[in-house]
Symmetry: C2
Subunit: 240 residues, 2 copies
């Protein structure tokens, strides 16, 4: 039975971190909300007054009867099944810790254009977004990217992977973060990338993996746009 992934149609967003793992593994899955009537099926599950396990928000995954929510949780569950987690149990928790740092980073990237509230439009919180983005680019972007660069450089199994000696879902997620940041903050990234050579090498290695390369040119890969976590508002970008 195929995995069923539920996520908002039309944006890569947080669902993309799960898609990349499924695609790299060549797993059998359905991207439910992109099917006819898929979005209403997703909302029905979320609002189900009899559901034993209800998600707070997409993305969530169904594997048979089991409903699993949150990106890092889905990847922790899928990783070993897809061959994209370390074999050693302890390192699986290390991978999950890294993925949760990516989760926090993505939330902060989101809040550069939504510092006041998700129920408001960007245009309703633009002065605050300008201020938050300036802080993000000067303080947070270097802190997070510098951390992941250190993680790669200090991996005892080599700087080619975030954890262990072979590709994991964490590597795929780091690829996606770099992709998203290049879309959102091209000027900042242009001046910052020289400082994170290991991360950029990892990004390029992921992009050239056969299944990922094929996926990236397929119509399953959605483009970034201004409804996504990663948005390009030129006024929020600057050299870092």
């Amino acid at each position: 039975m195929p995995y069923k992934l539920y996520y908002w149609d039309g944006i890569p967003g947080r669902g993309e971190f799960v898609r990349l793992a499924l695609e790299e593994a060549g797993a059998d899955y359905v991207d439910v909300a992109r099917e006819p009537k898929g979005t209403s099926a997703m909302l029905k599950l979320m609002e189900d007054a009899a559901g034993a396990t209800i998600p707070f928000a997409p993305p969530f995954l169904m594997d048979g009867e089991l409903l699993i929510s949150h990106v890092a949780n889905i990847l922790f569950y899928l990783g070993p099944k897809l061959g994209l987690a370390p074999d050693e149990e302890g390192l699986r928790f290390v991978a999950n810790g890294l993925q949760l740092t990516i989760t926090d980073f993505v939330a902060e990237i989101h809040d550069t254009h939504h510092p006041i509230g998700v129920s408001l439009y960007y245009e309703e919180q633009k002065p605050e977004s300008l201020r938050r983005s300036a802080d993000f680019l000067s303080e947070r972007l270097p802190k997070f990217l510098g951390y992941f660069e250190r993680v790669l450089n200090q991996n005892p199994m080599g700087r080619g992977h975030a954890v262990g000696g072979r590709p994991s879902y964490v590597d795929l997620s780091l690829f996606q973060v770099i992709e998203g940041l290049r879309y959102s903050f091209p000027r900042a990234m242009d001046s910052y990338e020289a400082r994170i050579p290991a991360l950029i090498a990892l990004h390029d290695a992921v992009a050239s993996r056969p299944r990922i390369r094929k996926y990236l040119t397929s119509d399953r890969r959605l483009s970034f746009n201004e409804s996504c976590v990663f948005r390009h508002y030129p006024e929020l970008d600057r050299q870092s």
Copy 2:
């Protein structure tokens, strides 16, 4: 060998979600940063240029040589060992999904007083905090608390627990969220609590568990204060 918990001294903060689980289980642990020279030991681990696994931020846990970071990850790891996770493997991922929703909720609570940047003082982002808190109290607080109330009411094993039929670390964390919200937003909670009877009943049941009751009156339990995630700024509070 005792577990070693690393978290900033002087605040309950995010470390408290881990402490509650360790205390409920009567586990042998050291709260490292509260020991003499503990904070410098913690910083040394974080800055270790040779560390194979490095945390982005506290809290983190050491179990022997294994370093595990992020609250939800630590609890996912400890839960089964402490008898505070469901027996069924699938339900452990459900528990983790709930804990990650608590993580997101706590991050949003934090951002009510830090909507622009963590490197700035509250006083440097007060107008933005007023606006973000108003949105939080009208939109986000009801959404999160309403969700957890639904989770309790729809638990097939009964509304006394968030997941499964006996206490888990998720129940302990929900207790702490209610404690923190009562400290931070007493007016908003005073008017809102009537709408979440199952959550309040869970809070009270956790508070009266023998080990928790003893812990709450010990000097190991730190008071909320304005260096914590949960802060009381009366100007940010209002009836919800």
